[in-house]
Amino acid sequence: MGKRTIIPFGPQHPVLPEPIHLDLVMEDEVVVEAIPSIGFIHRGLEKLVEIKEFTEYVYVAERICGICSFMHGMGYCQSVEHGMNLTIPRRAEYLRTIWAELSRVHSHLLWLGLLADGFGFESLFMHSWRLREKILDIFEATTGGRVIFSVCKIGGVRRDVSNETLQSIIKTLVDMEAEVKELTDVFINDYTVKSRTVGVGVMSLQEAHDLGAVGPMGRASGLVQDMRLLGYAAYDDLDFAPIVETAGDSYARTVVRIREIFQSIDLIKQAVAKIPDGEVSVPVKDVPRAECFERLEQPRGEVIYYTKGIGTKFLERVRVRTPTFANIPPLLHCLKGCDLADVPILILTIDPCISCTER
C-alpha cells in the first residue's frame, strides 16, 4: 500500500467548463476517495423570486442553466400553471415538447463534443459541435435566441411557429440524421474511444438505485426511469420507451445519450405530425395561491420544480432540485478505485452542470 496523497482537482481545470472542486485522495495512481465541494458559482436565483413577479421569474428560471435553459423555464411555468389550475392550449404544449426535444439533441451533441475533448480527440469534438450548430440555428429561427429562448411564459408560449417552419425543421433533422449517425458511430465503434470508456466507472443497478442516480447516468445502469413517461406537455400523445443499457460503465452512458439523440429526433417528427392548430397562449388573470411539485426529464436527468404561491404577485418559495446535484453521489462512487487519468472522463460522464447545481 502506497503513501496517501491528496490532489486538488478543479475548480479551474481544462476538462471542466464550470467550477467544481474535488479533493482526490490517492494511493499511487488510484483514487481511494473523492471529496467534493461546491459553491463557486452560487448566484442566489431562488431568492430572487421574492422580488420578481411570478410572470417575470421565467426569465430568471431560464438563466439557471445555459444548456437546458428552455426546460428550466418550462418546468417553472408548468409548476405555476398546475398550481393555478391553468390549462394551456394544446398547440403550446406541443411547441414546448418540440423545443424541449431539440434542446435534448443539442445538449447531447454538446456533451459528445466535450467527451471527445476530454480524451483529446479534437476532430471529433469539432464535428460534434458543427452538427450542434444546426440545432442552434433552428432555435434562432423559431424563438429568436440561440441559447436563451425567452419563449415560455405562464399560460403558454410567446411565439408561434408556422407549420411550414416545422416541416423545414423536420427536413433539417432528417438531413442531419445521417451525419449524426456517422459521428456517433465513431463513439460507438472506434477502438481509441472504446479504450477510454469501456469498463471505466462501472455502477451496478442496485448502486444506481441506492445512490439516487437520475437520467442517462441511471439508465446506463439499467434503471428504468424517465420522467417523460409521466406524460407532461405533449408526451402523453407520443410513442416512446425509455432507453436503457445494462453495462453501467462510461461506454453505456455514451450509448444511452447517443440513442437518445435519435429518439428525440423521432419524438420531434411525431410531435410535428400530430400538432393541432389553434392559440398558443391563454391570458393569466389570477395569481398563484397553491404549492405545486413538477418533475421533468432534462437532458441530464430528472429536475424537480417546487413553487409556492401565497395569493400575491410574488411567490413565497421556488425550489429546484437539479439532475447534476442528484448525480454527484453516483459520481463519487464511480471515482473510487479508478485511475487518475480516468477522473476527467468520469466527471464528464455524469454530464455535470454546476450552474444548475448551485443556482
Binding site: 426569465y59 429568436g144 425567452s150 465503434n189
Partner: protein
Amino acid sequence: MGLFSIGNMIIRSLFNKPATLMYPVIPRVYEEKTRGHINVDIEACVLCGICSKKCPTHAILVDRKKKEWSIARMQCIQCNCCVEYCPVNCLSMANTYTSPSTEKITDAYAKAAPEPAAKPVPEAAAPVMDAAVDVEPTV
C-alpha cells in the same frame, strides 16, 4: 470496431468549404426573428412608461419631464417583453445586435422640442393645468 472510423468525415472536411464563416469579411445573416436590439419610434411614443415597468432588468427609463426614453443597452436582455406590452407599438425588436463596446452604453431618445399640432397624449393634462394657473390672476 474501427481504428480510423472518423476518416471519411475528416477527408470530406478536407475538401469541403469551412463550416465557419469568414466573419467579418462575410457578414452574418440573421434570422427574421432574431432578438438583436430594441428600436424605438420616439415620435410615436406616448411616454406611458409601461415598458419601463414591465422590463425585468429595469433597463428602460422613461422621463416624462424631459420627454426622454432611454435604454441601457448592456442591461437589456432582449426578452421582447417591452415590445409585447407597448400600447402604441412604437417599440420593435431589430434582428441585428448592437456593436460591441467597452463601455456600458445608454441610448437616450428625446422627443422633438417644438410642439406642433400633434400633441403627445400624457402631456394633454399638464398644459391645461398650467393654463388654469395662468388664467387665475387675470380673473
